[in-house]
């Protein structure tokens, strides 16, 4: 059995591949046939003409045909030699390499245009010669006579055939028109946005700038063997400036910029989307050749859909955590909250993708994005093949694909592979510096009296603010300022605007006194606990004004941008959550309201994650992988030092135990700080909404912006507050009005 031999690469061959018999003679046969037809036409045209004379006359007149045949014979001799003599072949190859180099000195676009013009002329010339032979006219004249003569000569059947063709043309036209639209082309200088207009995303901008630099001068990377990175995915939460970034790319680049509408590939008919993708990429290739590069931007790329892989989304839906009477989720830092949401909703979202694309559109896009290196075009592939030449590889199309989405998990995996999307950048929440820059940028457009320190503070207390949110906050502050008759935005306007945006408008509900006191105590427990144990977050505000989905709340913010979370922090989070239950039981003699449900839910969730996922419990294994692999939760844990194993407990039991321990701790903390809780509750009852600084003032007995904390240091005052609490407690038990008014200092 002979060994399998790998097919040699073209560059490794010593001689040319042998032509088949037909390939060798096909052109001579063709020329012979044409000559015979011409001869026959001449003989038919002159009754006196002898065959020999006709042959002589025709060959004199059709010298070009003879020349072509001669060229073909020379070519065949050349092929014949190249197939046998390796020296001749390699010499010729070297010569050809020189020719190729010379032709490649012309720019790609010019070569494309030249070849297009040549092909056009060739087509017309062939048509003219054929028509000339048919109409016995000079080829040029025949070319002009042909359409008219064609119509005259068309018998009825031909006309019917034309009518059919006409219908087909209508369909083509319809599909052609349907495949338009949704794709806008911008040329350099059409767009004024620049990178300097994008604030707070410098790290992403720097990488994009690099991409653009390579696009502008690709030789830099190509000459050392690399290639221009072809695709960027920008993903991140809404409003963080992905589209603005794309706009800046369009403004900065010296290449054309194509904007693809999210709805561009929604199609009524099967195949229109595919046509659209194809026409889009045809356009891209053309522009790329013409201008040496092109940028294409797919906004909301998730609309391209995927091929039916389950998608998980981050939609925030009404939840008891976040929609509770106490707005329990708001005690959590944003990542914790996100975690809970994701955990809750991952299972509940739509299975199966599809999206807007569907019907082969995505596949067409995938093919076009990675299939740029194939030889293309009828003339290149078919005609060159017919001539026994290898089709030329296409020139380098430099296409920079930029996609933006806030649902990266809705994208098809294949779309994101290197070669299609080479770089994936997360456009996250702006850094604090970015927020300061953004605040300044928007504040510069309006009149304001904020100092740099205030702007800095504003940026600090608004973590996770995106450009869009900041813009909106400033605008809301401006509206506040106008409503208050002010000429410029003040610090108070901004804070009010922020509260309005964060909490929504207060509902102007007046609680009855005993309920007001209960809510105040509930929130005061959260606030005091947060002040005492949660050092990684600062209290932003505390309120007992009823909003649309809460009775009152204590909102905290991280003072710095923080990226790691610790067990102690999560425990503090749980303590703050459990403070409401612990406090209500302490202050209402073991009674507690249903308002703690959301707090318990978030506490339980975090405790579950700590125990099952983050290695913050007694076991090590991750519940996430246990569940995925259907192993089940482990019992037990690390052996204690004394060698006695803990009782093996199920995950849920361990969580409950942890929560119980923490609840006890919360109770003891609150018990020790009974005066502080009642003081804060008093301040809340008096002022309804107080800022974080006011909370600190009450705790430390200092003077805050709204609340003076000094009276709370006096024992007499504390006694008065305690008395009022007892009165309110009596009223709570008897469902009646408290016997005394709230004391005021």
């Amino acid at each position: 059995m002979s060994e399998f031999k790998s097919r040699e690469r073209d560059s490794d061959r010593k001689t040319r591949i042998r032509l088949t018999f037909f390939d060798r003679v096909k052109f001579l046969l063709l020329f012979g046939l044409v000559f015979l037809i011409l001869l026959w036409a001449a003989l038919a045209n002159d009754p006196l003409l002898s065959f020999h004379d006709a042959a002589v006359i025709e060959s004199n007149q059709r010298w070009w045909l003879i020349s072509l045949a001669g060229v073909e014979i020379v070519r065949q001799i050349h092929f014949f030699l190249a197939e046998r003599a390796s020296g001749y072949h390699s010499g010729w190859q070297r010569y050809f390499a020189f020719v190729d180099r010379t032709t490649h000195r012309i720019s790609d676009w010019n070569r494309y245009r030249l070849s297009r013009a040549t092909k056009g002329l060739l087509g017309v010339a062939l048509l003219a010669v054929v028509l000339g032979a048919i109409y016995k006219e000079t080829p040029v004249k025949a070319l002009f006579l042909a359409p008219q003569a064609l119509w005259k000569a068309l018998p009825l059947l031909g006309q019917l055939a034309f009518a059919v063709l006409f219908i087909v043309i209508q369909f083509f036209a319809m599909f052609w028109f349907l495949s338009r639209g949704g794709i806008d082309t911008y040329f350099p200088d059409d767009i004024r946005t620049r990178f300097s207009d994008v604030w707070g995303q410098d790290h992403v901008l720097n990488r994009i700038r690099e991409n653009l630099m390579f696009l502008e001068s690709p030789e830099e990377i190509e000459k050392i063997g690399g290639y221009v990175p072809g695709g960027i995915l920008l993903w991140g939460p809404p409003g963080t400036g992905k589209t603005l970034m794309a706009e800046a790319i369009a403004g900065e680049t010296g290449k054309p910029f194509i904007f693809v509408d999210p709805g561009a590939f929604n199609n009524m008919f099967f195949g229109v989307g595919v046509l659209k993708v194809k026409s889009l990429f045809r356009k891209l290739r053309k522009l790329s050749l013409r201008y040496g590069g092109v940028v294409v931007f797919f906004d909301e790329a998730d609309s391209l859909g995927n091929r039916g892989i389950s998608t998980s989304t981050n939609r925030t839906e009404e939840s008891s955590v976040f929609g509770s009477s106490c707005h329990g989720g708001n005690y959590l830092s944003n990542p914790s909250a996100q975690m809970i949401l994701k955990e809750r909703f991952v299972a509940g979202t739509a299975m199966g993708g599809g999206g807007g694309g569907g019907m082969g559109t995505l596949q067409a896009l995938l093919t076009e994005m990675s299939g740029l290196k194939k030889p293309r075009g009828f003339f290149n592939r078919v005609l060159r093949r017919t001539l026994g030449m290898r089709p030329k590889n296409p020139p380098k199309y430099r296409i920079l694909v930029v996609m933006a989405t806030n649902l990266p998990e809705a994208l098809d995996e294949a779309l994101l592979r290197p070669g299609r999307i080479d770089r994936i950048y997360r456009v996250g929440y702006p850094s604090k510096a970015g927020r300061v820059r953004t605040y300044k940028g928007y504040l510069d457009k309006v009149s304001h009296v904020l100092t740099d320190e205030e702007i800095d503070k504003l940026a600090t207390i608004t973590p996770y603010s995106t450009g869009a949110i900041i813009k909106d906050t400033i605008n809301e502050a401006l509206i506040m300022s106008i409503r208050n008759g002010g000429a410029a935005i003040t610090w108070a306007d901004v804070i009010k605007a922020k509260q309005l945006k964060d909490l929504g408008p207060a509902e102007d509900v007046e609680y009855i006194e005993r309920e007001r006191h209960a809510v105040a105590v509930h929130e005061a427990c959260h606030g005091t606990m947060a002040y005492l144990v949660r050092h990684h977050m600062a209290i932003d505000l505390a309120t007992i004004e009823k909003g649309s989905d809460y009775l009152g709340m204590v909102a905290s913010i991280p003072p710095d941008d923080q990226f790691t979370r610790w067990k102690s922090e999560y425990e503090a989070d749980i303590l703050v959550s459990l403070a409401s239950l612990a406090g209500e039981r302490i202050f209402f003699d073991g009674d507690n309201s249903s308002g703690v449900s959301g707090d318990l839910e978030s506490a339980t969730t975090i405790a579950s994650f700590m125990e099952g996922h983050w290695g913050m419990g007694s076991t090590v294994s991750s519940h996430a992988s246990n569940r995925r692999n259907e192993i089940g939760a482990p019992g037990g844990g690390k052996p204690k030092d004394d060698g006695v194993r803990d009782l093996r407990m199920a995950l849920a039991d361990r969580i409950e135990e942890n929560l119980g321990t923490l609840l006890t701790r919360a109770e003891s903390i609150l018990h020790e700080n009974r005066a502080k809780v009642l003081s804060l509750a008093h301040a809340l009852e008096i002022h309804k909404t107080i800022s974080g600084e006011d909370v600190v003032a009450v705790m430390q007995g200092s003077e805050g912006p709204l609340v003076d904390g000094r009276p709370y240091q006096s024992d007499a005052n504390i006694d008065a507050i305690e008395k009022y609490h007892q009165a309110a407690l009596e009223a709570h038990k008897g469902h009646e009005r408290p016997r005394m008014e709230i004391p005021r200092f």
Binding site: D46, L49, H52, G70
Partner: protein, 221 residues
Amino acid sequence: MKRSAAKKSAVLIGLLAPLLLLASCGTPSKLYAADKADGVYFTVPHDWHEISQDSINAVESKSQAAGAADRLALVHWQIGYSVEKNFKAEKVLSLKAPEKPVVYVRVRSMSSDEMNAVSYNTLRDLVVPLTTWASGSDASAPPLSISDDSEIVQKGGRGVHTQYTFKGSGGIEQTIDQSALMANDRSTLYIMIVRCSKSCFDSNRKVLEKIVTSFTVRGKK
């Protein structure tokens, strides 16, 4: 398989190439003259020289004879051939006996008067008043011998072929071979005149008769 293909193709190229080369290097054995629109064809030996339609038209347009311009307007095609290289177009139209053979072919429309009056005798009288001379009624008629007078029927028309010799001015005997046909619908007149001095005609008779027989009228398409 490939080897035999190569062999076959080599044979084919070897056969085709000389054929094409031979065809392109040779010269035709005759000159083919044709007015394809009116369907008139004839041949002359390849070493003869053409007297172009333009040069003949130019000479004819200078003619002072009555109605000459009208007659010229009717002409579709006229052409001459001579053994002589620079044969003057004037001599084609004159009746002076040439020393070398001359062929002249003229295709023209007939006026409505002519169409009504045309007969074989009209065709015979196109160059010289042959019927009058032959009848002997004209005392001034030159000595004349008619060697052939026959009807021609072709696809495109019919007429008479006449060959005669007469002594013209200067006392030189001239032989004229004329074929005159009218189209089947009498719209068009086809004339071929081959002439030379008698001695010249006799010595070239074989060649000249070949030219005469090549005269083919297919008629309009």
